[in-house]
Symmetry: none
Subunit: 219 residues, 4 copies
DNA sequence: CATTAACCGAGACGGTACGTCTAGTCTTCTG
DNA sequence: CAGAAGACTAGACGTACCGTCTCGGTTAATG
């Protein structure tokens, strides 16, 4: 996962309303804003998180937020991407390396699905993730950006691993890797989102079993 | 699907500070509020829908809303349930009859999955559904109520049909019908929510094929 | 001096932006706002007096101020008129009775000029008066309203008394009572405003002597 | 009227936190700032004139203003003094020469009072003058400086001319020239400030007549 | 003649207040 | 007494300026 700094397209349109000079931006403030935003969402929830609250907690003027982001959701998305980038860096070294390929498809998928379960159960991620999902539900533009930088890259990782498995003959030649990727992740996301049932490693394993059974090559 | 009128437990507690007399409630106002809420959410989106706006559009005092519902989300949930009940009534006659059982599992599931796709693509349902989902993401209490009256009943219908199929030997004896139900609905919901890919009948069919392949009884 | 409640012309124009119902207005809030506004201007000065500050001190929502007044200056004008009305009521009984007429013009004018000096030296009046004058300097509309309800009525009182004096033969028949009124009040106001010299009873007396000398009937 | 360049006492205090080197000051910027300040006040009014606006219009950094002046009012005062100095220079040659003394007191005063009326009616002076007066009403320190460089010098000119008149026996020996000066200027200023009545030459003449009548030597 | 100090335009920063909007409560009047 | 109407307290919104603080880039006087 890459950091993806805001990038307010400095397209040289004629009646450009504003264009802050990104090179003079305060890194200190940016970090403080990320930390404050994540903390507030986790502690108080998205609805009670306000731009004013973030600014106050970060020790920053409100305008410094509005100068660089169009909404609190955008702040939170960048904050979350930053958090994820940090986590990746701490763990793997090079970011976004994809799903491991040990040759054992079931084991590899079990590993990442269990990790996903753990992440969704971790309050540090749960709060911000819910906030982003809620905003995406309500704003198509935001959903588009979110899908682009979060959902698609994640699904693509599964697709790549499954593609490799197909080439190895581990799954049926006519299996649709995109659908397979969705079958692996959507039910997890669904349980997390609606809390219909507890989200456990056992569930992830059972889910995996059912999906792989449908993918296995036929004689 | 049952209508589920509001029913803010009028439990006769001793020091109840409020207990509006439901028998004197204005049916006219209730309907107007439902219509206004659904219309506003559909037209302007959840974020721009306000309690004041609903009241004004319904030609109703704000207090009339706050007297009977705790939040705009609750209004919308009731409005949506009412809408669904009306639709059921118009269609099937008796509501909530479950998934048809013609003996052909694939055909039955294809029928309901396609119907679900159509519903999710219908603006009349899309707006309110997104609003409810967004609220549920942010408020656990609301999510609980929503799950109880919307998600679980829907999943239960799939479970019942799959259970019947298992008894008929149409699917493997050791298949988990709950997981199967989630495999059928969650990917649909996921595509709808994040708009990662278009939501079509073809997709529903492909999804069904993959899931059934995993469920089929083995020799 | 009369109270002059705001009176935002409820003219029934077609696209009326808003028209709060004055009959349902909270008298308690109105009084609290007046008190807070006067206190803040007196204590902290006009520049540091803010609408938010007035609202906070009055224990009132900001909107309650904006609902009834277009600006802090307008609030202050009404507050000042109210203060003056109260003072009149406490003193004379019926308000706005004019300059006394004991038959002795010099004595009558000396009395009111000294009273004016005392008032201008009283911090309770000084602060608000400076604020109003400053606003009037900068906003012609505000100046017009201020002149109408404050300056002209005051000058008219002098004119009436001087007119009576002329009829009695106490001043020259060809004297211009308007100019005479201005000669009596403007220098006082000037010293007060620019603080060029102390504003004392002795000064008022000397001023009066010089003006009356010019007005006295010639043989 | 003297030019009075800023001169923020560069007193060599020990821990002086700031002491810009006036000798290296950009004359170009100073002029641009004066022009911008006067233009903005005249065009948009004092309230809508901002330091940022002046800086932008002058093509100058904000800091260049704050380096040399403590507030926008101070900028405007200097700009106004500069304007007046320029006008004096254009007219008389040597500045601040005082009221003419042709031997005819009435004619001399009529001349300057009419000139004052013209100046107060000239938008070029009206805007800035109102701004300065408004600021002086609200800030005693600013009023003091303004009085010192503007009001007192002006009144002193009248006092000097009237003193000369007294020595010539043109006015009563016991007349107070200070009060006389105020009687001539304050009513003019009052009408200008509150716009109670139009400010015309006829008014100036009538005012002069009334005042001189009071000053004339008695038998 | 190069060095160097500081003024300059520019504008990001932490803040405060603006005037608007909505939430949720309270009050008044009508059917 | 339910309901329509809407004023009330409260507080977040997004904008505009404040006055301070860098940041490079010219100048100007000095060493």
């Amino acid at each position: 996962m890459t950091t993806e700094k805001p990038a307010q397209a400095p397209a040289p349109k004629a009646p450009a309303p504003k264009a802050p000079d990104a090179s003079r931006r305060s890194e200190r403030s940016r970090r403080a804003i990320y930390d404050a935003a994540l903390a507030l969402v986790t502690e108080a929830g998205y609805a009670k998180t306000t731009v004013e609250g973030i600014a106050a907690r970060a020790g920053v003027g409100k305008q410094t937020i509005y100068r660089w982001w169009p909404s609190k959701a955008a702040v939170l998305l960048d904050a979350f991407l930053d958090l994820a980038a940090q986590a990746d860096e701490a763990l793997g070294g090079d970011a976004d390396s994809g799903i491991p390929d040990t040759g054992d498809l079931a084991a590899d998928l079990r590993y990442v699905l269990r990790a996903t379960v753990d992440e969704l159960n971790d309050p540090k991620y749960d709060g911000p993730t819910r906030a982003l999902a809620a905003e995406g539900l309500v704003s198509p533009e935001f959903a588009a950006r979110m899908t682009e930088v979060l959902m698609e890259p994640q699904l693509a990782r599964y697709e790549r691993r499954l593609e490799a498995a197909r080439e190895d003959g581990d799954i049926a030649a006519d299996a649709d890797v995109r659908i397979a990727a969705e079958l692996l992740t959507a039910p997890l996301a669904h349980r997390w989102q609606y809390r219909t049932r507890p989200l456990t490693h056992a569930y992830a394993d059972a889910l995996l079993t059912h999906v792989l059974r449908g993918l296995s090559p036929r004689p």
